[in-house]
């Protein structure tokens, strides 16, 4: 089951560049939350702070607290533990090119020392079904490389790979921006189904996409969170003038 995320006073830097400033935000469990805003506004940095991927860049720094399911991820946990509980799907599909479809999905478990074949088989099947890819690949699981699939299939493979380690939160950083419209709508259907089991945070440039998949939407601008409310309110009656300007296309 998904868990809620409470962010308080979060600040992040790349070198001297203060990319996130004083973010306070409560992301509800088992819902999809969309983050929108112009390029460079800090929304990608924000999701990378939620699984401590931000700090894999040597010049990056972060302060503040992030509670995931009540656990303070910066004070009380190691990065590898957090990343097992908080899955991530990236902008460009990034399957492991030399691994089979099966090994791609099982990678997170295998590399953490899991080796029971029956259980792995079950988890791989379940994850691929959950990512709506099973029917397309079930005959080639161990024959084809993850890199041999189409872009949209690769992205669903990456979602399956993230789901296989049974996370509580799924972070998606513009998961459909490199895909064609058909693949995009498949990913959106998927988000719709997955939010009953996981807390989903999705960064998107596509405002229609945010309106379609998310209950809550946050608007980021210049490293600050301008407004966070129900998606319906953000898109019909935003409180802040800047949000209104952005969603009506006056800038960004």
């Amino acid at each position: 089951m998904g868990v809620g995320i409470e962010v308080a006073n979060l600040n992040a830097w790349y070198g001297t560049n203060h990319t996130l400033q004083d973010i306070d935000l409560n992301i509800p469990a088992n819902h999809a939350t969309a983050l929108i805003g112009p390029s460079g506004c800090g929304k990608s940095t924000f999701v990378r702070c939620l699984n401590r991927m931000h700090e894999t860049n040597p010049i990056a720094r972060v302060t503040g607290t992030v509670l995931i399911g009540g656990l303070d991820i910066y004070a009380d946990a190691k990065p590898v533990e957090i990343r097992r509980r908080v899955g991530m799907v990236f902008q460009r599909p990034n399957p492991f090119p030399t691994m089979s479809i099966y090994d791609n999905v099982a990678a997170g478990l295998k590399l953490n020392g899991y080796s029971n074949h029956h259980v792995l088989d079950e988890i791989v099947e379940k994850s691929l079904k959950n990512s709506a890819l099973w029917e397309e690949v079930k005959d080639d699981l161990k024959k084809k490389s993850g890199a041999s699939l189409s872009g949209g299939q690769q992205q669903r493979l990456c979602i399956a790979r993230a789901l296989a380690v049974d996370p509580e939160v799924l972070l998606m950083d513009e998961p459909a921006s490199a895909l064609d419209p058909v693949s995009t709508s498949k990913i959106e259907d998927l988000i719709f189904q997955l939010k009953s089991q996981y807390t989903i945070v999705i960064v998107t440039h596509n405002m229609q996409q945010a309106a379609r998949v998310a209950e809550k939407t946050g608007f980021f601008l210049n490293g600050r969170m301008v407004e966070f409310d129900s998606t319906h309110k953000i898109f019909t009656n935003p409180s802040d003038k800047r949000t209104e300007d952005y969603i009506t296309g006056r800038f960004g």
Partner: protein
């Protein structure tokens, strides 16, 4: 107007043909020496090639027949020892340079050292190993020859491993880390695995290069007219045997030297092809 169009189209076709022709010419110039050497080797070497060449040891001057069985086995042993030393150290060094030490002073020092080592003349390598291994041991040995070849393999293996690892996309590393895989595990199981085809090519390049080395063996493996497969004793090697036979005044030995050269080249090609075949069997459809 139309004439001008046609003229331009003609010019483009001509330029295209010229560029293609130049590229073909360059390819021929690259391949020609290799083909010429190989054809000449086959022409000169095949006359002395017979079964005895592979099964018999050398015979004294004046006797007919004899082969280089001892040198073939000796070369295999020397290259085995060399690979056991050079490949693990080279790969480990390359992994350090690309993954763990990137940007540190130590890594820069190691990279510089590897590049210098790559440029050290092979005869100097032989003398160095002579004073480091042969003198303390008190005798020439197959082991010391293997050490010399192994050290010569290290820089090539190390630098190609580094280059190949750096070519692995950042996105692949991030994918592994985002699954909660510890960094060391991600490096060994994901990054190295993704780069493995290139790393193997680097190892094969280093192997093929030292397989033909003569100079580093003169003061170490020393050569042996008889059969030996002991690491502690002087051992024969194909390049050494070719060198000795080619410098001799006897026609029979000259012919054997040609045959030895042909066998050396063919064995290197076979070894490299075998490794390529074995390592490519597990590659999946569509893997890049």
């Amino acid at each position: 107007m139309r004439d001008e169009h046609q003229l331009r189209a003609k010019l483009r076709t001509l330029a295209d043909g010229a560029a293609t022709g130049l590229a073909v010419l360059a390819t021929v110039l690259v391949v020609a020496p290799l083909v010429a050497i190989f054809v000449y080797l086959v022409y000169k070497g095949s006359v002395s090639l017979n079964w005895a060449f592979f099964t018999h040891n050398p015979v004294p001057v004046g006797e007919v027949g004899g082969g280089m069985a001892n040198a073939i086995v000796g070369s295999a042993i020397l290259l085995g020892v060399g690979s056991l030393i050079g490949i693990p150290i080279g790969i480990a060094g390359g992994i350090f340079l690309a993954e763990f030490g990137r940007g540190t002073k130590l890594a820069n020092a190691i990279r510089f050292t590897a590049d210098v080592l790559n440029g050290v003349p092979s005869i100097v390598m032989g003398i160095a190993v002579y004073s480091l291994v042969v003198v303390p041991q008190g005798h020439f040995s197959a082991f010391s020859g293997g050490v010399a070849l192994g050290i010569m393999m290290i820089p090539t293996v190390c630098r190609t491993t580094e280059e190949m690892l750096l070519m692995v996309p950042h996105a692949v590393r991030e994918a592994a880390l985002a699954l909660g895989v510890p960094n060391w595990r991600s490096v060994l199981s994901i990054t190295v695995r993704t780069a493995s085809a290139g790393i193997i090519t680097g190892c094969m390049l280093a192997f093929a290069r030292v397989a033909g080395e003569t100079a580093p063996l003169i003061f170490t493996a020393f050569g042996n007219v008889g059969w030996s497969e002991k690491l502690s004793e002087p051992i024969a090697a194909l390049p050494l045997q070719i060198y000795v036979y080619a410098l001799s005044p006897y026609d029979e030995w000259h012919r054997l030297a040609w045959a030895g050269a042909l066998v050396l080249i063919v064995l290197i090609v076979l070894a490299v092809s075998l490794v390529r075949y074995v390592t490519s069997r597990g590659v999946l459809k569509g893997a890049s």
